[in-house]
Each structure stands twice: as structure tokens, then as C-alpha cells.
């Protein structure tokens, strides 16, 4: 009994810390819609540290990997990174590794919070590391879908197999908008992908804190009536398949910074993951 008394203060303190958001969460940012760092390092829950608290569920047994695992195989791959600057974005703490097409994925509860109107401005960042493709498969793999399955609404982020050792990353806004990050992914290092979208048909794409694509005159996308779920590494139906690779921090903002300030914003996000500040 004495031992329990001795341990009680420590248990209480550790419980409080367990409930606290991580030090750089966006819980106080009113425009932060979703903040899932995926770095808990244990269990089958993926916490959302935004004010919305949208807990995700790890399904099918994906692996929780220490952040150092993101460096596996670096010395053995042939790198051809565009932009030519040698960049990557470390995984902080732990991350989730999915083996494609085995039912491993993360699902969030169906919610109207993700029901944006067809021209709603928003931004997101997401840190991904690809597994080199071993399947001779021409279908696209779904990394994230913010939609209701095959109903063709919301949007999806997919990997398009262009070569057994290469992938293109694309984002698809139904009914017909497809934008590509303008280079193939040929390495297994983690990179931070970002998207900025205003309400006037402009969409900019970012890679490791750099703007790599500017697009204008983009039409509205199809809204999901009645709310939609955000899922990761989950097939959205039809020909799209599940993605293989590692997934780190994800943040969505329900608003955008001015386009002129977007490069600074995404560079700051990249620097945060590189230990360069918040």
C-alpha cells in the first residue's frame, strides 16, 4: 500500500501529461481544423490535437515505427530529387507505416466538419514517405480521401504508378480537376507535401517547404452532401487501391494566408519539422 502511495503523485502527473497536446500542436489556432501528428508511438488511436478533437482509428494493424526508421535504406536508393536541392522532412517521434492492400488504414468519424463548400479556401501539410513499388500494378493508390467512397465528392490524394520504381503524387478534386506535384517520387525518404487553395480558383503546391506549382483558373469541386469522412491509406472504392508507405504529421487549416505569404508559411512548417522553430 505504501508503494502505491509513493507512486500516486507520479501516476497523476503522468496522466495529466498524457492528456496534454504535444508542445507544438495547433490547439489554440482557431483556423486549425485538424492536427494529427501520428507520433503517439503506441496503441490504435490517432489523436487529433486541434480544437475539434477528431480521434482516428488504426485499422488492420499498421506498424508503428520509430522516427529513425524513416532513414531505412537511404544509402541504397538512387536519388533523383526535383527540386534538385537535397531535401527531406524528418518524421517526428513515431509514424505509421502501411502495407498496401492489406486493409491497414486510418479512419476518422464521419463528420460535417469536413464538409467544405465547393470553393472553400483551405491549406494542409502532410509528411509522407513512399515504399518503393513492388507490385506490377497500374492502378492508383489512395493516400488520403476526404470524401464518401466512390461518390466522387470532396477530394483524394493518390499515388500514380508511373514506373516500378517511381510514383507521381496527385490530388483529385471531383468532378474533373487533377493536379500533380511536378516530379516523380523515386526515394524512400520522408517529404512534406503542402497545398494552398483560395476561394478564387488558385491552388499552389509545396514540397519540403518550397512552392513547386502555381495553378490558376481551377474550378470548384463537388461537395459531399451531408458530411464526409477523412481517411488515410484507405481505398476510396473502384479501381483506386490502398497505399504503401509511412505517414507522419497532418494538419489542415480552415482558412488560408495571403498567397504572397504562403511560401513563408509552408517554409515555417517545414522548418518546424526540421527543428528550426515553431
Amino acid at each position: 500500500m505504501g508503494g502505491i502511495k509513493f507512486l500516486l503523485p507520479f501516476l497523476l502527473v503522468s496522466s495529466v501529461f498524457a492528456l496534454m497536446p504535444p508542445p507544438f500542436s495547433c490547439s489554440l489556432d482557431p483556423d486549425c481544423l485538424f492536427d494529427m501528428p501520428l507520433n503517439e508511438g503506441w496503441g490504435t488511436r490517432a489523436n487529433d490535437y486541434s480544437r475539434n478533437g477528431l480521434t482516428g482509428t488504426l485499422n488492420g494493424g499498421p506498424a508503428i515505427v520509430d522516427g529513425q526508421g524513416s532513414f531505412t535504406g537511404w544509402g541504397t536508393e538512387t536519388f533523383s530529387i526535383i527540386p534538385t536541392t537535397f531535401t527531406h522532412t524528418p518524421m517526428l517521434g513515431h509514424y505509421i507505416y502501411f502495407i498496401g492492400n492489406t486493409g491497414e488504414d486510418i479512419t476518422t468519424a464521419v463528420t460535417s466538419l469536413f464538409e467544405f463548400s465547393s470553393n472553400k479556401p483551405f491549406m494542409f501539410i502532410m509528411t509522407l514517405k513512399f515504399a518503393l513499388i513492388t507490385l506490377s500494378d497500374s492502378n492508383d493508390a489512395s493516400i488520403m480521401n476526404w470524401s464518401q467512397g466512390a461518390n466522387l465528392c470532396g477530394f483524394t490524394m493518390e499515388a500514380e504508378h508511373t514506373d516500378p520504381q517511381r510514383e507521381k503524387l496527385l490530388i483529385f478534386f471531383p468532378p474533373s480537376i487533377v493536379l500533380y506535384w511536378p516530379f516523380d517520387v523515386e526515394d524512400t525518404r520522408p517529404h512534406q507535401y503542402g497545398l494552398w487553395r483560395d476561394g478564387a480558383g488558385n491552388i499552389d503546391l509545396f514540397f519540403d517547404g518550397k512552392r513547386v506549382s502555381q495553378n490558376s483558373g481551377i474550378g470548384d469541386f463537388t461537395s459531399c452532401a451531408g458530411g464526409s469522412a477523412m481517411n488515410f491509406a484507405k481505398a476510396k472504392g473502384g479501381a483506386s487501391q490502398e497505399w504503401s508507405g509511412g505517414l507522419g504529421g497532418i494538419r489542415f487549416w480552415n482558412n488560408v494566408v495571403p498567397r504572397s505569404q504562403a511560401p513563408g508559411f509552408f517554409l515555417a512548417c517545414y522548418k518546424y519539422y526540421n527543428g528550426g522553430g515553431n
Binding site: G41, Q68, N101, T134, G237
Partner: protein
């Protein structure tokens, strides 16, 4: 002598994870495969990779069983599955330490399955 305990760690802690493609039909429906395996295998609450999963893809011909044996008897169970006509080894995967999963055996292309997990179909 102080490190002697290391050699007492059970071998299952280093067990690989096996994924079998099991054929389902009228006599062996998905539900019976699920109930047979759901109580077996290692369960590690901190590492979801070490769990037993009967994957519910929409394929009506096959089901994938992902299992990490927890002891020697389940190693035998898995070896017996190799010889069953309705089961083939789809993949054998290991993770070392807290690293990424690595395929020891990869028969995914050889034994294709429906990969649309977005729709759960009732058992036959």
C-alpha cells in the same frame, strides 16, 4: 551473468507475421474463418502490427488472415495452413526493433485478391 536474462526472452517476441489468402465458399464462409482466427495470435496493444486480423475486403472468393503466432503451438498451426488446399502464404513480414516492416516472402502478385476495402460485403 547480468545479461543472462536476455537468453530467456521467448522466441515468439521475434516471430514474423504471416498473411494467408484463404479461399472461402459455402462450407467455409468468411464468418467461420474469422471466428477461428480471431482468438489466436499475438496481441500487442502497443504495436497494432502484432494483432490477428481477418481482413474484410470485398472479395467474395478469398479472405486474408494476418496472424503473428504467440507460441510454439501457433507456429504449428501456421505450418499446417501451408498444406491446406484452400490457403496459400500471401506474405511473410517481419519488423526489427521499431523499424519498418520488411517482406521475408512476398507472394502478393502471385496470389491476387480484390483490394477494395471500402465496401464490406456480407459473408457467403
Amino acid at each position: 551473468m547480468r545479461y543472462f536474462w536476455f537468453f530467456l526472452i521467448p522466441s515468439f517476441l521475434f516471430a514474423d507475421t504471416y498473411i494467408f489468402r484463404v479461399q472461402v465458399d459455402q462450407t467455409t464462409p468468411k464468418s467461420s474463418v474469422d471466428s477461428f482466427f480471431s482468438t489466436k495470435g499475438r496481441k500487442d496493444e502497443s504495436q497494432p502490427f502484432y494483432g490477428t486480423y481477418v481482413l474484410q475486403q470485398s472479395d467474395t472468393n478469398y479472405v486474408l488472415v494476418k496472424i503473428t503466432p504467440k507460441d510454439d503451438s501457433e507456429e504449428v498451426l501456421i505450418k499446417n495452413l501451408y498444406s491446406l488446399p484452400n490457403a496459400v502464404l500471401w506474405a511473410q513480414i517481419s519488423i526489427a526493433g521499431q523499424g519498418e516492416p520488411q517482406f521475408v516472402i512476398d507472394n502478393r502478385a502471385k496470389f491476387p485478391v480484390d483490394t477494395d476495402y471500402s465496401v464490406v460485403v456480407a459473408s457467403k
